[in-house]
Symmetry: C2
């Protein structure tokens, strides 16, 4: 009964997505685990290999992309009924945060479900993504309206799950994986972020958030690909300064994704 | 236009709240900053001073309370049209996670806004909280249906805001404070969590997530009370093992709230 709403509808006429080959959702269920950081760096890593890539920030309540990839003055342009995406080092970008910045409204998006679903349909479906090999979707926390709208109307190819070592995160992440299953989206990889912190004075590795459960997640759900990222000062520094780590520090161990 | 929905309605007949003196919302806008940890320890700290306290987990999509304060076998009982709250060391507890555990459904709550709003009204309004000095509401991330339903229907006395040093968190927290302002809920304190990590081998303090913006938040919004918590292995350890830090380690510096 709880999951009755998860029956997949036929993908809508999201004109902007017609020439996109693969759509990858980066999600987790839990907030603050590093989804936006992973989605942003995944997009720019794929682009460095020569693929045509786009990145969509699906978090209407708390858009992160304008902070992670910053522009001086944002002004979105329309081309007919399409919205032109922004471009940074060849990656196409769109976020509700760019739309509100461009129209000068920076307040909170105090909206109920139906309104948020409409914003997602317009922003994702009317952006002129053009020909892309990959469109990365940076998903918000939870399993509500935004996830359902995207799951039911967007032909998502696969999902990447991000977690942290805490048990709370494991509990929420399992819900996120089960939701993707309900929506018939295969989960292809798991990233455990903030796995440890290495003191730069004495090189001791600290598992601040505990040992984590990456092994049991991989065993339980049969993931073939799993990665562990350390907590690093540089990761937070470049996010705060609007530059993807992959561009700022290509040699950093976190960018070996 | 975006905030038009924020106009306050008259508090509904939430019978369970009739004998509650003060209701404090612990929120932030951003997920994963430590709202549940702060809300849980605030509730148990207040209870240790002799006050009668309740704690409600308002995150329907990702309930944390059943992990933070664990029970062997959860089974919720009804008393007429009221739900009996659980009790741990004298603090009354209620969470959607306890309700699903008690009925054996542990899957994700894949629900759209109107359904979630109904679950909140029933769970918060029909719990028999009895006579309480304080009811602490552990709020979910975002500024959507749950926040609107509580803001419009529950006589919240004040809010405590939790943030972390990253810029992304500052941006979301400002939205959370502005939403509380729209809903006429005064923010009385700010907690910056994970401000630094102290290596237990060489005692170096690392500001892994940067310097933070506690001063500018306090100046911009005029907060009189602000706290900084370090990132500590013990905090994550006791949360993962279902015991409030205040009970497990009363002398810990984080519990000097
Ligand atoms: N491994 C890491 N080390 C240091 N900081 C990190 C790491 N991963 C994420 N962060 C920082 O933590 C914050 C939260 O991450 P974010 O990607 O916004 O999480 P989510 O999208 O899951 O809410 C960001 O400022 C980000 O830069
Ligand atoms: N200061 C801290 N040091 C170590 N772990 C922490 C700290 N604050 C929170 N945590 C852990 O991080 C996880 C996320 O915190 P939580 O309270 O669930 O955040 P939120 O409610 O904002 O999503 C929890 O497992 C919690 O125990
Ligand atoms: Zn050290």
């Amino acid at each position: 009964e709880m999951t009755a709403q998860a029956i997949k509808q036929k993908p809508t006429q999201m004109k902007g997505l017609e020439k996109v080959r693969h759509i990858i959702a980066v999600g987790s269920g839990k907030g603050g685990v590093g989804k936006s950081m992973v989605a942003t760096n995944l997009a720019f890593s794929l682009s460095k290999t020569g693929a045509k890539v786009g990145l969509f920030d699906a978090d209407i309540y708390g858009p992160s992309l304008p902070t992670m990839v910053g522009f001086e003055n944002v002004s979105l342009k329309m081309e007919g009924s399409f919205i032109e995406p922004l471009d940074y080092e060849g990656v196409k970008l769109m976020s509700f945060g760019y739309a509100t910045e461009s129209s000068g409204e920076s307040g909170p998006a105090i909206m109920r479900g139906p309104m948020v679903a409409q914003v997602i349909q317009q922003l994702l479906g009317s952006t002129d993504w053009g020909e892309l090999d990959y469109l990365i979707l940076d998903m918000p926390p939870g399993t509500g309206d935004i996830q359902l709208t995207i799951g039911q109307q967007v032909p998502v190819t696969a999902a990447v799950i991000v977690t942290t070592p805490q048990r709370i995160s494991f509990v929420d992440v399992v819900k996120g994986i089960q939701m993707f299953d309900e929506l018939k989206i295969p989960t292809i990889a798991v990233v455990e972020n903030m796995s440890y912190f290495k003191c730069n004075d004495c090189s001791k590795k600290h598992q601040v958030f505990g040992k984590g459960a990456l092994n049991s997640l991989s065993e339980e759900f049969g993931f073939t690909q799993s990665f562990q990222f350390p907590m690093q000062y540089e990761v937070a520094y470049y996010s705060d300064n609007g530059q993807p780590l992959v561009i700022a520090e290509p040699e950093n161990e976190v960018t070996q994704l």
